[in-house]
Symmetry: C2
Subunit: 284 residues, 2 copies
């Protein structure tokens, strides 16, 4: 099945997931949307994140995608079920694969999770881990400064070390043996995080785990592309700022090519009355 | 003239300007719009910032405002002339008043400016200072981590001190005697900045200077409200997250009341074809 896989993120952090998909599924066609005009999502409300996620998915559906990857932890935490209810294709977020890997690796079932404020406050990782292992102890910590630190490029700076020490201080006293990097920006901080947590703890990169989950679903549903790539991977973004290509290439681990800026507002206006009504979202 | 003054910002940082307006012009009616659904602006492109600024202005025009304050340094730096060309009412940004105050106070005409990446890269403060004093030396420094640090509430943290030292290091060797706080978030960091730059340097709070400029224009144009307040100040935002009231009150210096969340996307869809076409923006 040569239809592409659609991937969206609030920005370019989701390229860490694309990097793993390219490694694991080199024959698949990929269409990416990074909502750089409205980045970040992780500081915004549940209702707004759900609305944005539905709009992003609608944008990708134009390209006849066979499967949707929510490569954004905030959207995966708060909008996965809304997306799954609305869409007729498989939808895979980063939370469930990350939680599964943590449970598989942890021996003492004491698991830490770091992420944006939206991700941690949603309790999504904790709920998922406890569904798998009810007696697990999950310690979550919102780390809103880590995304800006990555985007500033201070990957191994003294300021980043101190910020990590501060955020991880309480968690380190909880005897966790596994830490989930619950934001697609965080794999770039892995060496810095390693310095703070030591060499013994398992670090879970949700992006890598998600690529594995995508492969499993495609195999199970007989949807793998067996004919080899038919299009070049395509990257859409809603804004391009100066350092875009530089930052994007850092995430992707290779030069970022075939990028197109789209006017997302015009897309929404065209979508018009089909825009999911925000009034119905964010209520539980 | 009892028509309200309209004020917009990318979020709630502009409340530092509102605080000064309330002090200086207590009889004026104020209508504020904080675009918290799309915050921040300072990391985004010129073209997008101009588009957002026009949309924000259009939202406030519905309330029959007599004057528009662009209480956002990024929008003031990149979109002031676009707004002035499009609107029939006076438009006041924060850059010109801040630059004027710096030139008035500086003795050696060596002036530092800190702000978002968009503000500093625009060169708007530098151009304005040199228009007033052609032989001035202006040293700009983008400080993208300061907004997240303020929003995290780490106003006097060791991490904030170190970040400021790093950002201001080169500037401190340039013998500046005046530093412009070119972002509405920064007045909250004034004590922390003071520790890094010492007690001798002039710190310019653009928000305070802007309130003075608004008063001057209203007096000159005979537009002051002489009848006393007729409405309670009103605050619109495009998203409300959990810590909103807490952070907003910190900016305003008093409890934030009379807030209404609006669905800005629905407003844009209604505005429809009247939305300024982004294709014509950002080109010089």
């Amino acid at each position: 099945m040569k239809d592409p896989i659609g991937i969206f993120d609030s920005g370019i952090g989701g390229l860490t997931v694309v990097k793993e998909l390219i490694k694991l599924l080199p024959d698949e066609n990929l269409i990416y949307f990074g909502d750089t005009a409205r980045i970040p999502y992780g500081t915004k409300s549940k209702r707004l994140i759900q609305q944005y996620a539905l709009e992003d998915a609608n944008f990708l559906l134009q390209y006849n995608i066979k499967l949707l990857v929510v490569a954004c932890n905030s959207a995966s935490s708060l909008a996965l079920s809304v997306l799954q209810e609305s869409l007729d294709i498989p939808v895979i977020g980063v939370v469930i694969p990350g939680a599964q890997a943590a449970v598989d690796l942890s021996k003492n079932k004491r698991i830490g999770v770091i992420g944006t404020t939206a991700t941690i406050n949603s309790g999504a990782y904790s709920a998922q881990i406890k569904r798998l292992t009810p007696d697990a102890k999950v310690i979550g910590q919102p780390c809103p400064l880590l995304v800006p630190l990555v985007e500033e490029g201070w990957l191994d700076d003294y300021v980043t070390q101190l910020t990590l020490k501060k955020y991880l201080h309480d968690m380190m006293r909880e005897d966790i043996d596994t830490l989930i990097l619950g934001c697609t920006h965080y794999p770039l901080l892995e060496p810095a995080i390693r310095k703070v947590v030591g060499s013994e703890k398992h670090l879970i990169d949700s992006g890598r785990e998600t690529a594995k989950a995508v492969k499993e679903v495609l195999m199970k549903e007989d949807m793998l592309n067996l004919k080899g790539k038919t299009i070049q991977n395509k990257f859409f973004v809603s804004d391009i700022q100066e350092k875009f290509a530089e930052v994007g290439s850092r995430f992707l681990g290779q030069p970022l090519q075939n990028i197109e800026r789209i006017d997302f507002e015009q897309f929404l206006i065209q979508l018009g009355t089909n825009v999911p009504c925000a009034e119905n979202l964010g209520k539980e």
